[in-house]
Subunit: 303 residues, 2 copies
């Protein structure tokens, strides 16, 4: 696999396990894609699937899964805590290895076009694929949800990017787009003073003047007797993990507080490790080509 992308489609079904399994099963018809994870939430009545593989193969598998979801999910009878507007509600494409944001934008558009034309579901391009600023934010698109879209779609502001200009009667509408990989990264500080975690969170987060692609809050981990700077990193390429970590360490020093640990929630691309090794070890000639496991992945796609 010289090229890898990820997609994390959300489906509006979190109670009938057999339906979610049937949707996932159609991905097996496509080679060179792998389901990394999937989960169902009964209260949200929603499921989230993580699929990784060759870019074109992921695009094909996502189309097939969407087709199955449109067949099996009827939003007229759907209730749940999570806002939703479609049977397949949102489809992000994420570059992981050997692929650019531009390639993921292209893929989101070609999949969006097929969903619009072949499944008759209106498609809104969002985030990095958005055709207007007002469509970048998923929450803005989803406002009004399935029920509200029958009116909303008539507004000139909400003409779909692909597909019919009328809501699909049972499957609603869908948002398709490209975005960077999200990393959840937490740093623990050796103090019980939550004010310190809150101040440091402010120093690194975009909203308070910190790094552009960092969201951060202070959290009190009472059981552990420490406080935590808890972060969402929305673009690790431009606001790198090691740099944010170093800033937190430096700010903590000002209070005489040590950084006692950190944790990655979920997974991350190997690129994050390459960035980190490059920075700390000052390596001149380093890239994924130097890593045996990565070269093996490339070899596997040749054979």
């Amino acid at each position: 696999m010289k090229k890898l992308i990820e997609s994390v489609p959300n489906f509006s079904e979190g109670r009938r396990k057999e339906v979610v399994e049937e949707i996932i099963k159609v991905s097996e018809e496509t080679q060179n894609v792998w389901i990394f994870d999937w989960s169902m939430d009964e209260d949200h009545n929603r499921s989230v699937v993580t699929i990784v593989g060759d870019p074109q193969a992921v695009a094909e598998a996502i189309f097939k899964m969407s087709k199955k979801a449109v067949e099996l999910i009827d939003l007229r009878h759907h209730t749940g805590e999570h806002p939703r507007m479609g049977a397949v509600d949102v489809i992000p494409f994420v570059p992981i290895k050997g692929t650019t944001m531009e390639e993921c934008i292209d893929i989101s558009k070609s999949v969006g076009k097929r969903i619009g034309e072949e499944l008759n579901v209106p498609v809104y391009l969002y985030e990095r694929s958005a055709t207007k600023h007002s469509r970048e934010n998923l929450a803005d698109i989803r406002k009004g949800e399935f029920e509200g879209f029958f009116d909303k779609i008539k507004s000139p502001d909400w003409v779909p990017d692909f597909g019919p200009k009328a809501v699909h009667p049972t499957a609603g509408v869908v948002a398709v787009g490209a975005r960077e990989y999200l990393i959840a990264f937490n740093v623990n500080l050796g103090t019980k003073d939550i004010k310190i975690a809150e101040n440091i969170a402010k120093s690194v987060r975009n909203s308070s003047g910190g790094y552009r692609f960092i969201k951060a809050i202070g959290v009190d981990l009472k059981e552990k007797g420490v406080v935590q700077v808890s972060m969402n990193m929305t673009n690790y390429k431009k606001s790198p993990l090691y740099r944010v970590f170093e800033t937190i360490k430096s700010e903590a020093e000002r209070y005489g507080v040590p950084v006692v640990g950190s944790e990655i929630i979920g997974m991350m691309p190997m690129d994050v490790m390459i960035q980190t090794c490059n920075f700390y070890l000052r390596i001149d000639n380093f890239s994924g080509d130097k890593v045996i496991e990565n070269k093996l992945l490339d070899k596997l796609s040749e054979s």
Copy 2:
């Protein structure tokens, strides 16, 4: 691939390309092994092959390649600068991912047994597989080379670990063993004073009181206008790369000299990056399972 090992067999043929290609070709009969690299040296009259894959598959491929080498290479007519004692001269097995040194020792013994019994070539277990201290060092085993072994093998000290007690008339004898992955790592210092590189090399190398598994020398890179601490790391698990780097940085500071860069020669296992990220980012829950590319390798071996 949940488990990976590497083997780097050396064959005593570096002039007839078709012979080396024929030896490499038999590895293709085995699934789940990949030739990462191979090179021939005319002056040494020797070739080196790097093969990576599932442990049992690598063992099988190495046996087949050895069989082919015994068929095609006749040491009675072999000349070259590099010392040698067998058609297949030395076979190291190296743990890369999800495997222990003990597993590689076991593999070296089972492959050694087959080579001894099925190919009638005497086998000496070396390095971590050695049955006596006097057989740990490859150079000690190889002393006397092919021509000298017809006498050497008669000594009670040099009874082979496997196979006949007589040298194979055309294929000689072979050393088989397990060892850790070797990393070649160089650190550049922003000065032209070679004395400083030499002093720092002394501070980190085992022979002068430094880290147990580090060999180091000072090198003058005149063209670049810097000096270098050039290292061979024979066990990155016990003398980790980041720790040696930090020591070099700290020693260089004493001279007011900056570390201006570093380089990895060849490849390295992802474990080295995991160690590095763990140390610098103080990560509590980090392992290869957190890395998408690594999880994909595991998925590929399931399917």
